[in-house]
Amino acid sequence: MPVKVMIPTPLRQFAAKQESVNLEAGTVGEALSALTLQFGDLKKHLYSDDGRLRSFVNVYVNDEDIRYLQKEKTAVQPGDTISIVPSIAGGAE
């Protein structure tokens, strides 16, 4: 049983319009790498130029924020759900 990665609405256009993608992975980082390998246009929206996850990209494993786990090294098991959830930020000059 693979890991399920939930795709947020604003990124589905870059993932063949899918709400979720099933992938084989042992960690969150591996799952996101596999995701961006399969759907290359996702990468620039998930990662900044220095290769880090953008600050407004929040990732959960079964409803636990990976910032409070092992971040992208968080282990995932078959049947786990990884959710990519936006936060929204901005402001005037």
Binding site: P8, T9, P10, L11, Q13, F14, D41, K44, H45, R54, S55, F56, N58, D65, V85, P86, S87, I88, A89, G90, G91, A92, E93
Partner: protein, 144 residues
């Protein structure tokens, strides 16, 4: 085109006036038909940037999930966001661009000395380098 009922326009403006001189923010719920979107509801939210609210706003992932649940409960989609620019132009800043998501409609409106001014709507281009402005069509009554 973003189709915006007059009552929502006024509610967004009132939120900006109320929170001035700080930035206000909220969610747009509605229906996406590709080139055209219709706003059918709002979820006013609390700006979480209490360290710099006069020129920054943030909507946490928890509030995004809340807005998604509100949309789903009412048979709507989460189609975008609104925020104010106190005493600043109603166009995306570089900070806006760096933090924006594609696909969403971003309403930005100027609030000058506490008075709401122009309102514009924008969508981030897929290359993240720029925005495309979408026109706002104001309507009264119930959209089709």
């Amino acid at each position: 085109m973003l189709i915006l009922k007059q009552q929502f326009f006024e509610q967004i403006q009132a939120h900006g006036a109320r929170d001035y001189p700080n930035e206000c923010c909220g969610a747009l719920l509605g229906h996406d038909a590709g080139a055209d979107r219709t706003v059918l509801g709002l979820v006013p939210l609390v700006n979480q940037r209490d360290d710099s609210p006069r020129n920054r706003f943030e909507i946490t992932s928890d509030d995004v999930r809340l807005a998604e649940k509100e949309a789903a409960a009412n048979g709507r989609e989460l189609i975008g966001w609104y925020h104010s620019h106190p005493d600043s132009p109603a166009r995306p800043s570089e900070f806006d661009r760096e933090h924006a998501w594609p696909w969403y409609s971003y309403i930005i409106f100027r609030v000058e000395n506490g008075e709401p001014q122009e309102m514009r709507s924008w969508r981030l281009d897929d290359n993240r380098a720029s925005y495309a402005e979408e026109g706002i069509e104001y309507i009264t009554g119930t959209p089709a």
